[in-house]
């Protein structure tokens, strides 16, 4: 075991200590011991000691493994190779202890015994093993019903919020859509052939508990079209202080329905006269604020589905983007044909037109929304924009002039 005076200082304090935890396996795993050693070195040097991975993987797959090597192999031979294996998590991150124990067993045998539970994209990350262990590890995983997630220029592991499994607000079955999408795009997940990565994240309602609007090329967010369901008696109970706001999760004991709920409604489409709560539903933005504060009084409507938003990604190159609305409402029932077809169309349009390492959202910005919508077969809708353009630089195509000749009007 290496001396780790700097890291040791991270053993104290109330938050779980990863150093303490790593030390538990460092005794039986050379790789874990050397990982602590190299980390201590980084804490001293203030730089990383990892090198870019070459291409490593399992047979037939081009993804799922991130290759990594140390720049100090002599000192830390246990982590000379230290590749990660991305194991595709079950939708919603539900496990049985049996399943988790099986995974641990495989990883104790074939890797460092160190994990990320979970990675930022959603995978269960087996952190650190050698090239020769990849294939046997993979064989054990598949034998137990597990598979690898995505990496590289491929479909990435989709993820989802807990949805209908445990949330009363889920407007479609997020876990099922996540699972079906994962299955549908297995080929594209394991054989990178896109211009760059493509991520799908599914949230059941606009609270967006998997941050899909910020982190997915295709963000699927549940929504309802009809009226918020109101239980007026429960509203009165909130106003009277018999039920605590936000299920009890706030410092505030009691709700002032007007000040806390209706006055903060972003569209001002609610009113409360002290007794009755009214909602002008056609002007509601589905922001969830009122529902979140009074879960026993309000519920989303029953005509439910999802909004599709496209294009979010991290800042490189043009600056970070959030996904924007491309389909305001789609019904989301298995087998999700319309959804799978649209995602397929998007992949195709992007693969045909995208440059190497160009995310689909960047491509759309480069070629314009019209090219995108036409390319994937969608109509322009005002919901996709916050505001129409403010500049006068718009294009006219032959088809526009034909439509005009055929009687098209720009104001009715």
């Amino acid at each position: 075991m290496h001396k780790t005076p700097l890291l040791d200082q991270l053993e104290s304090g109330p938050w779980p200590s990863f150093i303490k935890d790593l030390k538990r396996v460092a005794g039986r795993k050379k790789s874990a011991a050397d990982l602590l050693g190299v980390l201590e070195r980084s804490y001293k040097d203030k730089i990383t000691h990892w090198k870019h991975g070459g291409i490593v993987g399992v047979l037939g797959y081009g993804s799922g493994i991130i290759g990594r090597y140390i720049d100090l192999p002599e000192e830390f031979p246990g982590v000379e190779h230290f590749h990660t294996v991305r194991v595709n998590q079950p939708a919603g991150w539900f496990y049985t202890t049996q399943a988790l124990r099986e995974l641990c067993e495989i990883w104790d045998e074939h890797g460092s015994s160190i994990l990320n539970v979970h990675g930022s994209t959603g995978d269960m990350i087996f952190l650190g093993t050698t090239t020769d262990q990849l294939e046997p590890c993979f064989a054990k995983l598949t034998a137990k019903g597990w598979d690898l997630g995505g990496s590289g220029s491929a479909m990435r592991t989709p993820s989802c919020c807990v949805g209908k499994a445990r949330c009363e607000w889920s407007c479609y079955d997020t876990m099922d859509l996540c699972y079906q999408t994962t299955q549908h795009f297995q080929f594209d997940m394991h054989r990178p052939s896109f211009p760059y990565k493509f991520k799908v994240k599914c949230s059941g309602c606009p609270n967006d508990c998997v941050a899909s609007v910020a982190r997915a090329d295709m963000s699927v967010i549940g929504v309802w079209k009809d009226d918020i369901r109101i239980d007026q008696a429960a509203v009165a109970a909130y106003q009277g202080g018999e039920i605590k706001p936000r299920g009890g999760g706030s410092p505030y004991a009691k709700l002032d329905v007007k000040a806390d709920v209706t006055d903060l409604c972003p569209t001002a489409c609610m009113s409360f006269d002290g007794k009755k709560l009214s909602i002008d539903n056609k002007n509601c933005n589905h922001c969830m604020h009122c529902i979140s504060l009074m879960p026993q009084a309000l519920r989303p409507g029953t005509e439910t589905g999802a909004t599709l938003l496209l294009g979010s990604h991290a800042p490189i190159l043009e600056g970070a983007q959030m996904s924007w609305v491309i389909v305001p409402f789609m019904e989301m029932e298995a087998p999700y044909d319309e959804f799978m077809e649209l995602v397929g169309n998007i992949h195709e349009w992007w693969s045909e037109n995208g440059k190497n390492r160009e995310r689909v959202g960047e491509l759309m910005l480069r070629l314009g929304m019209r090219a995108f919508l036409k390319g994937v077969g969608l109509e322009p809708v005002p919901q996709s924009v916050k505001t129409p353009r403010a500049n006068p630089f718009f294009f006219w195509h032959a088809e526009d002039f034909e439509a005009e000749a055929a009687g098209r009007k720009y104001i009715k």
Binding site: L10, D21, W50, A91, F94, N116, W146, Q186, M288
Partner: protein, 356 residues
């Protein structure tokens, strides 16, 4: 090779659902937070599921997972899940067993919380544990910050939920760009070109193309078969290094942390917002990064004091105005705060709507 299994995808989720969930799938009616870290969801049928949520370092070992499994086996019929912020949730139907879970967690050092108006777990990345481009470590800073903010993890004291994230380089694997408070590892010096290495390892056109600001040019001396970097243009993103390992962007002295604040993802009241630069630079100071810890606490406290009920960090700042944010948090305003990237114009104040 015939029996090699591929492309099966993950196990279907329903194998892992507790019976109460299977029975009430899609039929939940409401929930309550019984205490920090303990949720109950009530179905239309009247059935209930309790979730006990505990913090995890995320970078864990199989030993940790097995301990967690022991708890779930003992009290939860073997059912558990993890959250989108890497907390663990013990799922049970028998309310009387909650105390047992709590005790066991306490023994294991798993703190309960992350519900409601708390500071939940910090979404983060690899750092010096595994990645090749980080400016900073990930898990060590997270541990230091969470130790400091611990009181907020297991309580509902704040005006709203506060979500912190960390990314160790501009690739932002932690997707920090929409977080209430974002901890971002930054390089501050251009890559140093290792000419000899470069000619062997890298494709020059791809390397040149990788630079978002066009800072890389072919080396004027063609015989060198390398590139040169225009220091004035480089903003240290490390993108070229990902393409070409002969362009390390590290500088042990100059690298460090930037803090961005005011991002969010939910649509509650206000639309999702990006995090904006609050503190352009704090030193990279392992093992406990005191400057980072201190700055975050200061911002959090000022937020807690100043925000209205239900107001997220970004909503608070937008309401009082950024000029007041800098004043209240005692952060000097620098050239770095002013956007000069692609869409900079949209951040300029084209109105008289400001405060002195």
């Amino acid at each position: 090779m015939a029996e090699r299994i591929t492309d099966i995808g993950p196990p279907k989720f329903d194998k892992f659902l507790p019976p109460v969930i299977k029975d009430n799938y899609g039929k939940w009616k409401y929930h309550e937070i019984l205490e920090p870290g303990v949720l109950v969801h009530v179905a239309e049928s009247g059935a209930k599921i309790y979730s006990v949520r505990g913090g995890s370092g995320r970078l864990v070992t199989t030993d940790f997972i097995k301990d967690v499994c022991d708890i779930a086996d003992k009290f939860c019929d073997g059912y558990l899940r993890f959250t989108s912020r890497n907390n663990v949730e013990f799922l049970l139907t028998d309310q009387s067993k909650i105390a047992g879970v709590k005790d066991a967690c306490k023994k294991m050092g798993i703190p309960l919380g992350a519900t409601g108006h708390s500071v939940s777990n910090i979404v983060h990345t690899q750092g010096w544990v595994h990645c090749h481009t980080p400016a900073i470590d990930a898990s060590g800073i997270v541990k230091s910050v969470m130790d400091d903010l611990f009181e907020y993890f297991g309580s509902h004291k704040l005006p709203a939920q506060v979500r912190i994230a960390l990314a160790c380089c501009l690739n932002m694997c932690g997707a920090v760009h929409c977080s209430d408070i974002a901890i971002l590892g930054i390089h501050r010096t251009p890559p140093k070109v290792a000419h000899e290495k470069l000619r062997h390892l890298c494709e020059i056109p791809t390397t040149i193309a990788s630079c978002p600001t066009g800072a890389i040019r072919p080396h004027p001396d063609k015989s060198i078969k390398s590139v040169v970097i225009n220091d004035e243009r480089c903003m240290y993103c490390g993108n070229c290094y990902t393409m070409c390992p002969a362009l390390p962007v590290f500088d042990a002295q100059k690298g460090g942390v930037a803090l961005l604040v005011g991002g969010k993802v939910s649509n509650s009241k206000t639309p999702p917002m990006f995090s904006k630069l609050a503190v352009p630079y704090l030193p990279n100071n392992p093992p406990r990064w005191p400057e980072v810890v201190g700055a975050i606490r200061k911002i959090l406290i000022k937020y807690a004091e100043g925000a209205n009920k239900w107001e997220r960090v970004g909503e608070w700042v937008e309401r009082i105005g950024w000029e007041k944010f800098f004043e209240v948090c005692d952060i000097p305003f620098t050239f770095q705060h002013i956007d000069d990237y692609r869409w900079a114009y949209d951040t300029y104040r084209t109105s008289m709507h400001f405060k002195f």
